[in-house]
């Protein structure tokens, strides 16, 4: 697990022009920027400022170490994200980061990598997939279980299809709702965990999605014998500063912004599932 130190002016955003804005689904878009050489690791996030509107934490959805191009995928839920959705290439956004502790890629070496994603939760896991697939020899089976609301909400569909066709990745995709044209799976993603024919004793699971979905996934993964220390989740709390100063993102003793957003279930289990914590 890596902790990356932010630069000293960590509360001041750096204006950075948008290279591209791509519409992913009806309410999800991606913003690419070039931050030069980046230390960003899969699972970390940046704080993005829309000048005059505000600042929001956004997961990094792709990192190109060589070129410094960093992609952020954002769900338009109103407020700052709604204004960001209107920006065009060349417009400047403020960038702070990268922040937080990312996914434990090293802990997954020589093991199966089981990724369970729900909805927009696929975004911080996409760099893990990219990393694992480009270092395929380092890992055993790489499996993605991905639940989405409807077929139209499925993110990175083409990319996933290519990876799957190349035989590098097993993808199980399931939607909650669909029309009769959908030929894929329907139903929540968590029951798919039990159906995987993998050696759970040699598996690292990485889970990201709505909190309740993650709890169901953890139940199932534990039932399959996965140790809490091999099970990682990316948590969402109200992250405002990214560096543990503002206090907003606390979850029990954890500052989600700097101790997380990725935690092992062993670290989290005393604190999740408790009302209003």
């Amino acid at each position: 697990m890596c902790t990356v130190q932010a630069h000293s002016h960590s509360l001041v955003p750096t204006p950075t022009p948008i290279l591209r804005r791509v519409r992913e689904t009806e309410d999800v878009f991606s913003v690419s920027i070039n931050v030069g050489e980046t230390s960003a690791e899969p699972g970390q996030f940046n704080m993005l400022t829309v000048f005059g509107a505000g600042e929001i934490p956004i997961s990094i959805s792709a990192i190109c170490k060589a070129s410094g191009e960093t992609v952020h995928t954002v769900r338009n839920v109103g407020g700052v994200s709604q204004v960001m959705a209107q920006l065009r290439a060349g417009d400047e956004i403020g960038v702070r980061g990268p922040f937080g502790r990312g996914w434990p890629i090293d802990a997954a070496i020589d093991k199966n990598v089981l990724i369970v994603a729900g909805g927009i939760g696929l975004v911080p896991l996409r760099p893990v997939l990219q990393h694992c697939l480009s270092h395929a020899g380092h890992f055993r089976d790489i499996v993605l279980l991905y639940g989405a609301r409807t077929p139209e909400d499925v993110l990175f569909r083409d990319e996933l299809a290519v990876w799957e066709q190349q035989g590098r990745l097993k993808v199980e995709l399931s939607v909650d709702q669909c029309d009769p044209t959908w030929q894929g799976n329907v139903g929540v993603i968590t029951p798919f965990i039990a159906r995987q024919q993998i050696d759970f004793d040699n598996t690292v699971a990485m889970v990201c999605g709505p909190e309740i979905m993650m709890r169901f996934a953890c139940d199932e993964l534990r039932r399959q014998g996965l140790a809490e220390a091999s099970l990682y989740l990316s948590m969402e709390r109200n992250m405002k500063c990214g560096v543990g100063f503002c206090g907003h993102c606390q979850l029990g003793p954890h500052f989600v912004c700097k101790g997380g957003p990725v935690f092992s279930l062993a670290e989290l289990s005393p604190w999740i599932g408790r009302a209003e914590l």
């Binding site: 309410d27 769900r75 729900g118 009769p180 030929q183 329907v186 029951p191 309740i212």
Partner: protein, 153 residues
């Protein structure tokens, strides 16, 4: 070639079931293959069997005017479909349709009920297996109706 008994023993639903029970159940079973789009079950029709899915995928559906056919859930290899045979009036409450070619072991409901009434211990074993599936499906359904991926959820 595997016997039906062996096929059942290899299926997760029958994990660790006593061999004598498997032999009893196999006597009520036959292999059945459904082509894509073929129905395994139709609403209100007599529920004569339940299906152990050996391969392929099925959809549990409802015809809901004016939206048309809605898929509520899909099930695939390693799962079972159908418990309407267990209780009167023994009628299907949903449509079940094969999405692709589906290989199943079909277990005859009337035959099973008879065997379970004679051998209550075996009936209890089978009932526990069904209950576990029902509980898991209810849990999944609850999560599904939460619609956790909608904006602002």
């Amino acid at each position: 070639m595997q016997t039906i008994e062996q096929l059942l023993a290899a299926h997760p639903f029958y994990l660790d079931m006593k061999p004598e029970y498997l032999a009893e159940l196999a006597a009520c079973a036959q292999l059945k293959v459904f082509k894509a789009n073929q129905k395994l079950a139709t609403v209100d029709q007599s529920a004569d069997a339940f299906y152990v899915i050996r391969s392929g995928r099925v959809a549990i559906e409802l015809e809901t005017p004016p939206r048309g056919r809605i898929t509520l859930q899909t099930l695939s290899t390693g799962e079972v479909i159908g418990w309407s045979w267990l209780f009167p009036p023994y009628r299907w409450e949903f449509d079940v349709r094969a999405i692709d070619t589906v290989h199943t072991v079909a277990l005859d409901g009337k035959c099973l009920r008879g065997k379970c009434n004679q051998n209550l211990e075996m009936g209890w074993d089978l009932m526990q297996r069904f209950s576990r599936i029902m509980a898991a499906r209810i849990k999944a359904t609850r999560l599904q109706i939460l619609d956790v991926y909608r904006a602002g959820a």
